[in-house]
């Protein structure tokens, strides 16, 4: 299992080959950190016996940016803009986990409309993340057209993100106590268009891949990880569900009102790369169901941020040409009309919120599995400790179990089926 220390080559390379015969030795190969199909800067130290992987050791840390340490030096509100950069393919989930943790420490809850918006953007984000996975895995395993289609549909969702948050990634849209601002009508309209279009497009992906002999050959029976192994190694998300375990934080420990939505937890029994493909395709369909329910609920107007002036961000924000910024009316209000508003703004922006001391752990279901936020406060204006339990980090521990004994070409399929994002692994 992955617990093993790096194994020594089984045959001493110093021993000369027998005359006229092949030397029976293994070869150590570094795959990565600069290898296009290791999804970023993942490095695998492979010991190969011909084409067979004898042992594998994943080495991470090349993208470590100290997000957790940085959070300790900024205000609680600024933490959102840090954690959104951890797993850059699922920014909304990182924001949600962090905000839910801080809100639990504060003892507040976002208003209903903000929760609907949070769920909707998370589910859209799940689709974009799965689309990137589908596109890049397709590319790695030879289905180049899938890469083009995947990114094409992702673009539609990124446009919706841009309309609502001003940015295509690193949104910082979810804030402590709610969301930055309501979704503009155009965003809602585009979301409905997307809902109309997407089921057909997912059908196209299935037409391209699900019965494609090459895709089946490359994925079926490859990178098998049994349910017992996955549970022991702490693997969560689609990889665990592909082994038949119906574990989904949205269902088991509902948050943000997920218990009121109608959706299914998708499982398969193959426990292989192909089963993970099927699970992710079905999850996109379930996400579309949830987005539809969210859009219906958005008919109810309401606040998107808590009313408490000691918690809520003081500014009225709106989308400008370079992302979210203060609205002109608000700048006029604090600069020309109200001294108290200016003082309040200054205090909130420089000093921020004081959070009562305590420790919480909040899990959310990210596209890659259970994303947990352990947040500790000492009662001050800055987090004392933010620990991100990133699903990619934990899932990568399973790589040796999945690839050892298999072919080196299947390592690519195994890594792809795990869908690790190194921004989240290394933080």
């Amino acid at each position: 299992m992955s617990a093993a220390a790096p194994r020594q080559p089984s045959v001493d390379p110093a021993v000369p080959a027998p005359p006229g015969g092949f030397r029976e030795e293994t070869m150590i190969v570094n795959m990565g950190p600069q290898h296009p199909s290791t999804h970023g800067v993942l490095r695998l130290l492979l010991e190969l016996d011909g084409e067979t992987v004898v042992s594998c050791r994943p080495i991470v840390g090349y993208l470590h940016t100290g997000i957790e340490k940085n959070c300790e030096y900024r205000t609680w509100q600024q933490g959102v803009t840090y954690v959104t950069r951890a797993d850059y393919l699922s920014p909304f989930f990182n924001e949600l986990g962090y905000c839910l943790a801080v809100e639990r420490l504060l003892g507040i809850e976002a208003p209903p409309r903000a929760q609907v918006l949070r769920v909707m953007f998370c589910e859209m984000n799940r689709i974009t993340s799965h689309l990137v996975w589908l596109a890049t895995s397709g590319l790695e395993l030879g289905a180049v057209s899938m890469a083009l289609y995947g990114f094409r549909e992702r673009e539609m969702l990124l446009n919706i993100f841009e309309i609502a948050t001003g940015l295509r990634m690193n949104h910082a849209y979810l804030r402590i106590g709610g969301v930055v601002m309501d979704i503009p009508p155009e965003g809602e309209r585009k979301a409905r268009e997307f809902l109309e279009l997407m089921p057909g497009r997912i059908g196209e992906y299935e037409d391209i891949l699900a019965r494609n002999p090459i895709w089946i050959e490359r994925n079926q029976g490859v990178a098998v990880l049994s349910a017992a192994d996955a549970l022991a190694l702490g693997v969560t998300g689609p990889v665990l569900r592909s082994a038949g375990v119906a574990r989904d934080v949205r269902q088991d420990e509902p948050y943000s009102g997920y218990e009121t939505y109608d959706f299914d937890v998708v499982t398969r029994d193959g426990a292989d790369s192909f089963a993970r493909f099927e699970v992710r395709i079905e999850e996109m369909k379930q996400s579309l169901r949830i987005i539809g329910q969210c859009l219906d609920r958005l008919g109810q107007p309401g606040p998107v941020m808590v009313e408490d002036p000691k918690v809520r961000w003081p500014a009225q924000l709106e989308v400008g040409p370079d992302g979210i910024g203060n609205s002109e009316a608000y700048v006029k209000h604090i600069m020309e009309e109200s001294m108290e508003a200016l003082i309040h703004h200054f205090k909130m922006v420089t000093e921020g919120v004081a959070v009562p001391p305590g420790e919480v752990h909040v899990p959310v279901e990210s596209p890659r599995g259970e994303l947990g936020y352990s947040v500790v406060s000492d009662g001050g204006h800055r987090p004392y400790r933010v620990r991100i339990r990133d699903p990619s980090f934990v899932n990568l521990q399973a790589v040796p179990s999945m690839v050892e004994g298999g072919l080196v070409a299947d390592v690519i399929a195994a890594i792809a089926s795990l869908d690790p994002v190194m921004g989240g692994v290394d933080r």
Binding site: N70, L233, G234, G358, E359, V376, V394
Partner: protein
């Protein structure tokens, strides 16, 4: 199971249990850590069979200085329990739980890397996120964030931990 009920089940054996914000936390001594994990995992009512994560906090000047928090989850009962253990500044050693929860491997390596807490019996206790030759343990509160002055519109802005505001 609700956190209060869970705390009630654990309390006879480990009396130091608190419930705050709907989360149950049990504090055990380092010497009984391994036994506690086996009990929490194997007791049919608790059945805390998966480890979500291991995290540490550093409180310089206090005794104990380090606190380790293990977030446990039960797949069957769908409840959570946090187990905490305090470690003294001059003896930051703790038994590894990799033999109970194999998933602890990388979590413990990360905590060792960031805080210098030594997990005795860990099969492969090497740095994981910092470079191999790194000096120090960066998430200790005694370590600086670091950084360089940045030039912005003609002025030099110091790194965030050396700003006066």
């Amino acid at each position: 199971m609700r956190a209060e009920e869970l705390a009630g089940l654990v309390r006879p054996r480990y009396p130091d249990v608190v419930v705050a914000r709907g989360e149950a936390t049990v504090v055990v001594d380092r010497s009984e850590l391994h036994e506690a994990f086996v009990y929490l995992r194997d007791d049919p009512m608790l059945s805390l069979d998966s480890l979500s994560g291991v995290s540490a906090t550093d409180w310089p000047g206090r005794t104990p200085r380090y606190w380790l928090a293990y977030d446990l989850y039960s797949m069957g009962h769908k409840h959570r329990l946090r187990l905490k253990v305090g470690l003294l500044e001059d003896d930051p050693h703790v038994p590894s739980v990799v033999s109970v929860y194999p998933t602890a491997n990388w979590h413990e390596r990360e905590t060792f890397d960031f805080y210098g807490i030594v997990f005795d019996g860990h099969p492969d206790l090497l740095r994981i996120l910092m470079p191999d030759g790194w000096k120090g343990h960066p998430l200790r509160k005694t370590e600086d964030l670091g950084g360089v002055n940045t030039r912005y519109k003609g002025a030099f802005i110091p790194p965030v931990d050396r700003r006066t505001t």
